[in-house]
Amino acid sequence: MQIEYFRAMNSDIVLVAEGEALQVKSGVVAAQNFIEASEKRFTRFSEHSELSRLNRSAGAWFTASPDLFEVVQETVFYFQQTNGLFDPSILPSLHHAGYIHSMDEIRRSSSMPQPDRHPSVSASSFASVELNATNSSVRLPADMQINLGGIAKGWIVERAARLLSQYASACAVNAGGDMFLIGYPEGRDSWEVGLEDPRNPQVDITLLLLQEGAIATSSVVKRAWKQGDISRHHLIDPRTGEPANTSWLSVTVLAPHAVTAEAFAKAFLIADEDETQRLGEQNPALTVLAVDRGGNLTNPVKPVESLYVSH
């Protein structure tokens, strides 16, 4: 089994692959190149990225690359599926909360991020984004700026895993805890995935035995900072434009696709009790695990089947 570690998308990336050594090595290089190229396309922290150019063209039609068009399409779909809880048009709110630079830069810098002067909520709804599939073009409302951070990461993770699987008999791509699993390690019928305790990241709160597919975790403790005396995190509630006031420290979703897991992990973390039940009923195929502020692991939607190995 070959393991490659590197840093991209402000996350630790791990590629795990099994197969013929030289083939796997080529696959790892291809997957790493794909991840790094995609990061350049989707980052909001570079004014030269395609996403930044899309944001600058708000109000006009923008001809997107097939990759960006696909991610925006997925984003519109999951905005609808999560009843608007997953909303990438919260970029002004992220800026307002001080998340102006990447977390790597914020951690390196000794100064606290200060809020900018932008309003915290766009007047336009993300539902008013227009797509034209015939020429891969997108039109954002003139006052809208979008952030594709999480969903783009999910999309990249699954694409990279599918690319790597062309060179390997089994593989996994893990980007900061969002991962996609293909095949199984030799002699096994599942992947072992430790679910990190948000209160003590060195410790796993449980060990999951997972089949092929995706897992994503959203956490209010991972990308968090102080703004004056106020604690902030990056998971914005689109209804208030402020970091979500949630009863969960982290929410993990298991799904067939990484974008699904990523979008619903955010949505379930932000959702109140009624919205959680509604989302659960509308999406019975999802498995949701949440850690509350007391450090208790629960399923807010329904009892979990035999996923747990140990507590």
């Binding site: 590197f6 990241p201 994503a216 991972k222 982290s250």
Partner: protein, 80 residues
């Protein structure tokens, strides 16, 4: 004076002899070591080759999102 010398000589002799005999008896009744039987030694587990120091340093492996041992790789999900 001479009597005391003789008493001390006899006392040393008796003490030495009795210590020797006690030691003899203890060893005679002590459990015997097992005979070495090569067949009884369990076969050693076959270990994967250890990666070179360069490999480890270049990969910069992090414990934060995975753990690896000879048996398996445990990936970790902690949120982003």
């Amino acid at each position: 004076m001479k009597i005391w010398k003789n008493i001390i000589r006899i006392w040393f002799t008796l003490a030495s002899l009795s210590s020797f005999l006690v030691g003899w008896v203890v060893l005679v009744h002590a459990p015997k070591p097992n005979q070495f039987d090569p067949a009884s030694v369990p076969s050693m587990p076959r270990l994967d080759p250890v990666p070179s120091l360069d490999q480890v340093m270049l990969s910069g492996q992090s414990q934060s999102i995975f753990r690896a041992n000879q048996r398996s790789v445990v990936l970790r999900s902690g949120g982003s």
